[in-house]
Assembly symmetry: C2
Homo-oligomer: 150 residues x 2
């Protein structure tokens, strides 16, 4: 079975309708690899399905995120990017608020924090593809020189 058909089935089994638009968007995200903006996904998917509307891409990617099939990454440039969820490679992101450098970290680092929030506040932390803001190693020296607020 092709990658696209497998993903479409997975979506149907989760109780969502599979429309031509959804199938194309899902397959597009799957084949692009990595994180991509809605416009990028739209431009690519439109080639397979002329007439596709960008609002549908927004709505579909949001739906796929709620369904747990894509992950969201908010960049510092106020553009939301998406990627196919890969259960084999769970990871979170650190983004430098000064230079936009991005690095991946292991989710295991957050187990203890998640436990504490659950016990002390009854809060279940979203543990899928979190993104944290801060300063990367390189930009911390700029902060020390007073150019940046720490």
């Amino acid at each position: 079975m092709s990658c696209g058909a497998r993903l479409a089935n997975e979506l149907r089994q989760k109780g969502y309708r599979v429309t031509p638009q959804r199938a194309v968007i899902l397959e597009t995200v799957a084949h692009m690899h990595g994180h991509h903006s809605v416009q990028e996904v739209f431009t690519k998917a439109e080639q397979s399905l002329p007439g596709l509307n960008v609002a549908t891409v927004y709505r579909t990617l949001d739906m796929l995120h709620r369904a747990g099939m894509v992950e969201i990454l908010s960049t510092t440039a106020n553009i939301t990017c998406f990627s196919l969820r890969d259960p084999e490679h769970p990871h979170y992101h650190l983004i430098c608020r000064n230079c936009d450098a991005m690095q991946e970290i292991e989710p295991v680092l957050f187990n203890e924090l998640a436990d504490t929030l659950k016990k002390k506040h009854g809060f279940s932390l979203d543990h899928r593809h979190l993104t944290f803001s801060g300063l990367c190693k390189h930009c911390q020296s700029d902060a020390a020189k007073g150019n940046l607020t720490p």
Copy 2:
């Protein structure tokens, strides 16, 4: 010295120019207490300074955040809210992605995480007014019923 004048001085000492617009916006945020949207700040500030443009409010609040004088809170409704930074009351927020319920938590919970990120990844986590997404106690039962993706 009035609250507004004190804040304006603080801003000037940080190396920023103090314009009538900036002084009014800063004083407005200070007197509104709590977190407010840019539109709310603009509507209030405009009364003190007719002709003020909303783009200036966006730029000024962003600048005040970089200067460390206001804090940002991103709501689930894609509206960015701001509050005056209060060094006497540091706190982070937990926001329920289902019902928008918001609670404050103590920053001390993140000390260990911040240490680990620094040691293992050389990354300096922003430790000012972080916001975390998840499910509140109440909405976790809905998730258990299958209505929500955990």
